[in-house]
Symmetry: C2
């Protein structure tokens, strides 16, 4: 089970002990990894349609929420394009959380999150999330210490409620090395087609690398609950990262053991009505 | 140009003169059509990324809005899955319009539409749209005659404003035959995996087939503007329908002649800053 291999054990977390270039659970290299991802397209699409059908049928509250976190360049966008892109877009709800607006800042930090939760039968994807409020929030001192402390428990309560409502929460931290981040930022500078992805602020954030890693470790420890556990996905190899997240989603959906909703009408009656109707 | 082949000429429209099983602009059959669609994946993805980049860079207001209309089973969902599914889901905004809620009915019919318009750099998809208000609205008499009459001009004004704001509006009516609809509804009844897609109300709507065709003809005539022209996509062959809509989107995006945004920072300075930073 990939969820167990990448799951964060209870207790203190040390990111430096986790290899960002590892490929846990996968035997093979890049080309095999890309093929394995492509091979997931059909089963993922089938499971998603069953989930969607169950949600439409009315009394099945199940849904999935994938929470993606990671340092700049860790590949949240790549996961979206290559793994989430395997799903039928009709059943996917992607929300990218940016710096909060003035209106959002006037509310509790979870207010804007609540509004973007996926509905029954769908797969929600958060590109960044409420965790930013204990990551950049902590590193940049955007809230005072007491407030930051309060948030970990608030997140756990919130996620418990979301899970109780029928949502399976899959939290992934995309774990890259500082060296790989430098290489990816350089690539954005060296390739004019990628200039638009570069922001001088990225280097300012990179200067706080160790503070961010520490903030992640604290969040991974304190919000690693049974209801909504954390996974650390080694992300120096893009192909592995994409495969691992897609496989986590596949395991999650397969675990739902989804059938097809029964007809809430009489099939034979409808057949006759349809055939009797002259158009 | 597929947009010309499928574009509706000015003047009265007669849907019965348009072959729902035709394949205008495509030489070949099903397997070639599926391959041609697959071959569009890479160019579409590249063009979409350029559009997205332009939107992010700030001063390019361009975006696309695909409006999908068609009778039940005409394949709006299939287009979404197979054609829209070729794009990176991060740059796509899908909105399925259902029967309006009480809140929506308390507003002008365009109120809920306006709120779902795509932002610069993205591709919006409307699965049904404001046209329902002159289709089911007309057929089922959901508003009085004067109000229905008012709406055609209101739609034209609205779409003109949307276009003036930088949106290219691609309107497609998926055109199926009554026989094909019957076959598809039967398939939903005969295959238990498709029961969830069937609704007894579908037969009630089918009983009004000719009224709907007429309502479409009126809408296609009166809202076929230079700013936002209509296309009729023969939809009895699923592979052609998917290829045709993807090709319309490809033509649209290719016509934007999109480059990559220039850097708004000094590349050499950033390179030095990045390399000088020890992490």
């Amino acid at each position: 089970m990939i969820s167990q291999l990448l799951g964060v054990p209870p207790g203190p977390v040390s990111l430096s002990d986790l290899d960002p270039s590892g490929t846990p659970g996968f035997d093979g290299g890049k080309s095999e990894g890309k093929q394995a991802l492509a091979d997931l397209a059909e089963p993922l699409s089938d499971l998603q349609e069953r989930l969607f059908a169950a949600g439409r049928a009315g009394d099945d509250e199940r849904r999935v929420l994938l929470v993606l976190q990671g340092m700049d360049t860790s590949g949240k966008g790549g996961v979206m394009r290559h793994a989430v892109g395997l799903f039928d877009p009709q059943g996917v709800r992607i929300k990218a959380f940016k710096a909060p607006t003035e209106e959002e800042r006037a509310h509790d930090f979870l207010w804007r999150i609540e509004r973007e939760l996926p509905e029954a039968g769908t797969i929600g994807i958060f590109d960044r999330s409420h965790y930013e409020d204990v990551l950049i929030g902590r590193v940049r001192g955007l809230a005072d210490e007491d407030e930051i402390e309060r948030r970990y428990a608030a997140i756990n309560d919130f996620e418990q409620r979301v899970v109780d409502g029928g949502t399976t929460v899959v939290k992934c931290m995309l774990h890259i090395s500082a060296g790989e981040q430098q290489a990816r930022l350089l690539e954005r500078l060296d390739n004019p087609e990628k200039h638009w992805k570069y922001n001088p602020g990225d280097v300012d954030e990179r200067a706080l690398w160790h503070d961010y890693q520490r903030a992640y470790e604290i969040a991974l420890e304190r919000c690693n609950t049974e209801a909504a556990p954390w996974h650390v996905v080694p992300a120096d190899r893009k192909w592995y990262r994409n495969w691992a997240v897609a496989t986590l989603l596949h395991e999650t959906l397969a675990g739902f053991d989804l059938g097809w909703p029964a007809a809430d009408f009489d099939v034979e009656t409808e057949r006759k009505r349809l055939l009797a109707l002259e158009v």
